[in-house]
């Protein structure tokens, strides 16, 4: 009985010391010290990013003194209502690119899940050995700053007043815009038939456009009907051209006798602002060796574009549209700042591409359009 009390006090003290060690970051320090390989270091870092444990992730960096934690968080969690702010890191994959005794380059593929579908982000990370521990050297986040200025915006805005419910029968209404499909091509893919082409707004007012296609079999009976969904720029300003793509999964061209196209246009309020330039476009390869169309978006207007979608159509040597692909940009488009983008191009299509046309769909929270 005499020995029990000292033993009990000793156990409680040891427990309290252990809790204090955990609370003071001892466990994290242990984990960090346990990053005995570059692979482990990157995996531990990305695991913390995935769980949004920014303090611990930031503490794992070899170069955390080079930039603020807020910049690190902004780099990964996004800002200004960008698509990244609505995304979460679903999974990741890490593999070595170069490995030395004291430094290594690791490639990490981050799979973000977002409101518009999965987004891939491939980064090469430098990893350094500090003592017995490997730590990640995070690329210093660079955020372009726009100097204070006044950007006059006086582009047109179209508003619509339609016929009211109390108006008599026969009272004139405003007609829907005239839009026209200028090209259409049916493309066979391994698992589907894809209809690609372009549509133009031939009117002097903005149009909300939807393109639908129906596959007809040898008896001229409909097999399937699909719409362009988000593979089109729905709001077309006067004389604007948009690519469209309609997918028919599970069908093959040999089953199809003809395709019935249907374009619907509605008159909608719209603004000619913002203007987004697509600069430095070129066909390239990504770090994984896949064909991509690369470029940068420059918002030439004065307000932030929160979410941008790049739509690209590709032409063969005869000027025929042979493919349409898209990609969402997970950064917001700040005024006058170039934001890079890359959209995938299938390998078999890439070899036939003679020219391409890029269009940007945009969404701004303050406009709701």
């Amino acid at each position: 009985m005499k020995a029990f009390l000292p033993l009990f006090i000793g156990l409680v003290t040891a427990g309290l010391v252990a809790m204090a060690w955990v609370e003071s970051g001892g466990l994290a320090l242990h984990e960090m010290r346990s990053a005995g390989t570059p692979q482990e270091a990157v995996e531990a870092l990305v695991t913390d990013i995935q769980s949004r444990n920014w303090d611990r992730a930031y503490a794992r960096l070899a170069n955390s003194n080079d930039f603020e934690k807020q910049a690190f968080i902004r780099d990964l969690a996004g800002s200004s209502g960008s698509l990244r702010t609505y995304s979460s890191l679903e999974s990741f994959k890490v593999w070595p690119v170069e490995a030395g005794a004291d430094d290594a380059t690791m490639r990490v593929r981050l799979n973000w899940s977002s409101a518009v579908g999965p987004l891939d982000d491939v980064r090469d990370l430098e990893v350094k050995k500090e003592g017995n521990v490997w730590k990640v050297v995070w690329p210093k986040p660079q955020f372009a700053k726009v100097p204070p200025q006044v950007i006059p915006v006086n582009y047109l805005r179209w508003d619509v007043i339609g016929r009211g419910p109390t108006d008599d029968w026969g009272v004139q209404n405003v007609d829907n815009p005239n839009v026209r499909i200028t090209s259409m091509n049916a493309v066979e893919r391994p698992d589907r038939v894809v209809i690609v082409g372009e549509v133009v707004n031939e009117d002097t007012v903005p149009a909300y456009v939807n393109v639908n296609a129906t596959l007809l079999n040898s008896d001229s009976k409909p097999m399937d009907q699909e719409g362009s969904f988000d593979m089109i720029s729905h709001t077309l300003l006067p004389r604007q051209v948009s690519p469209y793509r309609i997918d028919f999964p599970g069908f093959h061209l040999q089953q199809v006798k003809s395709v019935r196209m249907d374009v619907k246009a509605m008159l909608v309020p719209a603004s000619a602002d913002p203007v987004i330039a697509v600069t430095d476009q070129k066909m390239d390869k990504d770090p994984l060796g896949k064909n991509v169309l690369r470029g940068a978006l420059v918002n030439q207007s004065g307000q932030t574009v929160n979410i941008a979608q790049v739509l690209a159509d590709y032409y063969d040597a005869n000027g025929r549209v042979i493919w349409v692909s898209d990609g969402y940009v997970d950064q917001a488009l700040e005024p006058q700042v170039a934001v890079p983008f890359a959209v995938d191009v299938p390998d078999d299509v890439a070899s036939k591409i003679h020219n391409y046309h890029v269009l940007v769909n945009h969404y701004s929270i303050h406009e709701g359009s």
Binding site: V200, A277, Q281
Partner: protein, 283 residues
């Protein structure tokens, strides 16, 4: 023989009961009388396309029908029922004088110099909104912003008169009026510029980029292309391709593009392609 006798007896009985004799044709909104034969009390029914009226009458006297009972054009049935049975006669109420016109003008926007592009259709009604089926002349007046007005009288057919007319070469509002008697319905149609004609750009070097702008954009009739119309600029240089869709502002589309070395710049608007300019290296 037996059947024929029965029919004759029935006819005699009906004849004895009394008949109603409305006028063959009546004008909507005008009262009239229906003469009857026979004698005694009877219930009189007037069944119209819009409603049914009933009242007690004396056979052998004229039955006055109020103007408010014959507002709707169409086939009416007058029935008199007494103790001896019922007898009926049909008559037609025709639309009154033209008093209203419903006017459809399509489209609400039309490109200049388009043949048969404006479609005007007028429906002629009387004051009770009955379609006037007898031919009447509808005067269509087309009044462009500039130039002489066009007057085109068209005879209606079964209540409808229509015409097609070409748009004029000048953009702007065009007033189209459909007139029938005192009734007049105006509509306005917008004539808009056609595709850009002779789309040309010029480039001016600035400190960091090249300012590219179009000449004032006009169609082949000299109308200014409306502001907001998209003009696409494409520039190809050593770093790749740059494109920007720019809306026309004050008649001109302009943008600034960075240029790296030699570059080719082209322009398009919709399906119209403009000129191409080449820039040498060294900004």
């Amino acid at each position: 023989m037996l059947r024929l006798t029965a029919c004759l007896l029935l006819l005699m009985r009906l004849a004895a009961f009394g008949e109603v004799h409305p006028p063959a044709q009546v004008t909507a909104g005008k009262g009239f009388s229906i003469s009857t034969t026979g004698s005694g009390d009877a219930s009189f029914y007037l069944i119209s396309p819009g409603h049914v009226a009933k009242r007690e009458v004396k056979l052998g006297q004229d039955i006055p029908v109020d103007a408010s009972d014959v507002k709707k054009a169409g086939r009416y049935l007058a029935i008199a029922c007494g103790s001896g049975g019922c007898n009926s006669a049909a008559f037609y109420v025709m639309a009154a004088e033209p008093d209203k016109v419903s006017f459809f003008l399509h489209p609400s926007r039309v490109r200049v110099k388009s043949n048969d592009a404006i479609n005007a259709t007028a429906f002629v009604f009387d004051q009770f909104y009955n379609l006037v089926l007898t031919p009447v002349t509808v005067d269509f007046k087309v009044i462009p912003k500039t130039g002489p007005p066009i007057d085109r009288p068209i005879k209606s057919n079964l209540g409808v008169a229509w015409m097609r007319v070409a748009s004029t070469p000048k953009q702007g509002p065009v007033k189209v009026i459909a007139e029938v008697g005192k009734a007049s319905e105006p509509r306005v149609i917008q004539q808009v510029a056609s595709d850009a004609c002779n789309l040309r750009i010029k480039a001016t070097r600035t400190a960091k980029a090249v300012l590219i702008e179009t000449d004032p954009l006009r169609d082949c009739s000299g109308n200014a292309i409306p502001d907001g119309t998209i003009v696409s600029f494409t520039e190809i240089d050593g770093k790749g391709k740059t494109t920007v869709d720019v809306p026309i502002k004050k008649g001109i589309a302009r943008t600034q593009l960075p240029v790296n070395g030699r570059a080719k710049i082209s322009v398009a608007s919709g399906v119209v392609i403009g000129n191409e300019i080449s820039l040498g290296g060294g900004l």
